[in-house]
Symmetry: C2
Subunit: 318 residues, 2 copies
């Protein structure tokens, strides 16, 4: 495996799309291979700017992403797209919509689109996504879009872990995603009212502005612009991208980008430590050593705290 | 502290109520003192039979408990009561209702009543309660009643960690605690319809029987009896206690008591290991070592997985 991942990393750094796809599968699976991949290319990252796109199901996120990708390509830049769907059991391009999208850009080597779905638990996906972003980053993509359904805590977290986060809503969205509304608004750097040709678009845009008025933005704080678009026809998509570029310039001018990336790195480090420790806990609480410890506690040969300490010593010693 | 807890443990084993109260405060605070107390008296435990009493707020749990206590005392046995209220910020007899109850039994050395409430987080209380039970056990109480409001997951867990669990409902309870109904029924060994002189008692008892009919009890499995009572007048309280004794006999005859205590011990051991590991994670993710690790990751001197491993090595080495 070391030799193979060495070779794959070398090819990925050389923009080889198949090598990139294989490396993403490796980080998706997690474990030692994933760590090795990250170790091999981490020093080559830092060049990409990430854009998160999230919103309720049916808000038109994929359509908007596709139109943004077309715009980026028209400017001549390369772009990677990770479509993260924690609720889907499929991975690696197996999703129908994903295949259709792949086809659209099939002849364009400057676009890399990839679905990531749940292999095992959600926590795994939350950890795997930033690693997949790093692979695209190391492969020389100046833009990486992470698209995710803004339904649960994990999805919002994944989309929020971007340099600029775009939250897509539609007229009347409020009733549908009431529970998660606050979480979505909190991570938004750009708010898009998509399907703005439908009834209620004005009201939805006004509601969002009122909510922003009521939020406690300080002087100099970024106020998320509310942009109307009809992604299906391309109307307003240029305005969405302009808003992303304006937010990027704001972050770069104010030192916000560095602060944001610092906080993200710290959060990721915490998440990896927690994940490692959970693995250790699972190891300590299974197998014959655990059975023996529980039996000794039950027989009152040892008290439960002492037993727990011994189990943990065994894990750390081994 | 070692000398002091030594002395307190010796006095508690000698049925000294003030020493018992002080030891419970120590396990409530958690940390090394708690572990030391448990280590010192754990081998003297195993004689007590625990009864959990839970139900929605206002179901009459305290009144039922008091009447059961009076019955146990009439039989000449000693009894300890832990009233666990995770939602209350008060501890150690500071609760008004608790003081009133203490007064009632103030002249009776055979009863020990104590409130336990949240000091810090809920997980702490879930861990502290079994330790408090052990203190009463080691102090020679043959019966320990753990009373808790059956509102959240933790409360249900605490009440369910008894040899026999009594779930108290009232006519029309279903609407009030809909969300937690299934969880409460799942842990019930004895179901009490309290305030059975009120309208709807027949219907409530019938509903419970139907639910039990629909549950997948196997041949030889214990079917929780549905007992009607009016705790305030004492009506039916004898029947409740008979049901507890019948369940105890069933557990003892079928080996169920040993199985139940084995599973409880294993669950507690897992909880202590998880708690220890959380402490380690918190330690690894704070302080200057963490700041330095995050800065090194951000500077791309080291990758996040390597940084996490180094932080964990430091924790385990120290």
């Amino acid at each position: 495996m070391p030799v193979r991942s060495d070779d794959l990393v070398a090819r990925a750094l050389d923009h080889d799309r198949r090598a990139v796809a294989k490396l993403i599968s490796m980080v998706e699976r997690g474990g030692d291979d994933a760590h090795e991949v990250v170790a091999r290319l981490y020093r080559r990252t830092g060049g990409a700017y990430t854009v998160g796109i999230t919103g309720a199901p049916g808000a038109g996120k994929s359509t908007l992403t596709d139109k943004l990708v077309a715009g980026i390509r028209a400017d001549g830049a390369e772009v990677g797209v990770l479509a993260v769907d924690p609720s889907s059991p499929f991975t690696g391009g197996a999703i129908l919509g994903d295949r259709i999208r792949m086809q659209e850009h099939a002849t364009d080597d400057g676009v890399f689109i990839r679905s990531m779905a749940t292999r095992g638990h959600l926590g795994g996906l939350a950890l795997a996504t930033p690693q997949a972003v790093r692979i695209l980053d190391a492969a020389g993509m100046p833009w990486v879009i992470v698209e995710t359904v803004g339904v649960g805590q994990v999805e919002v977290e994944i989309a929020g872990a971007a340099d600029t986060t775009v939250v897509v809503v539609t007229p009347g969205w409020g009733d549908a995603v009431q529970a998660n509304k606050a979480g979505l608004l909190e991570i938004a750097d750009v708010l898009v009212v998509n399907k703005a040709d439908r009834d209620g678009a004005d009201e939805t845009a006004r509601d969002l502005e009122v909510m922003l008025d009521l939020s406690d933005l300080g002087a100099g704080d970024w106020r998320p612009p509310v942009v109307r678009a009809v992604a299906a026809t391309g109307e307003g998509v240029g305005d969405v991208w302009d808003a992303v570029l304006t937010h990027r310039a704001h972050l770069e001018d104010t030192g916000g980008l560095e602060r944001r990336r610092t906080e993200r790195t710290r959060a990721e480090l915490r998440a990896i430590v927690a994940h490692r420790i959970q693995e250790q806990a699972a190891g300590a609480c299974s197998g014959s050593a655990f059975d023996a410890a529980a039996a000794a506690v039950l027989a009152r040969e040892i008290d439960p705290y002492e037993a727990a300490d011994k189990l943990l010593e065994d894990v750390h010693g081994g």
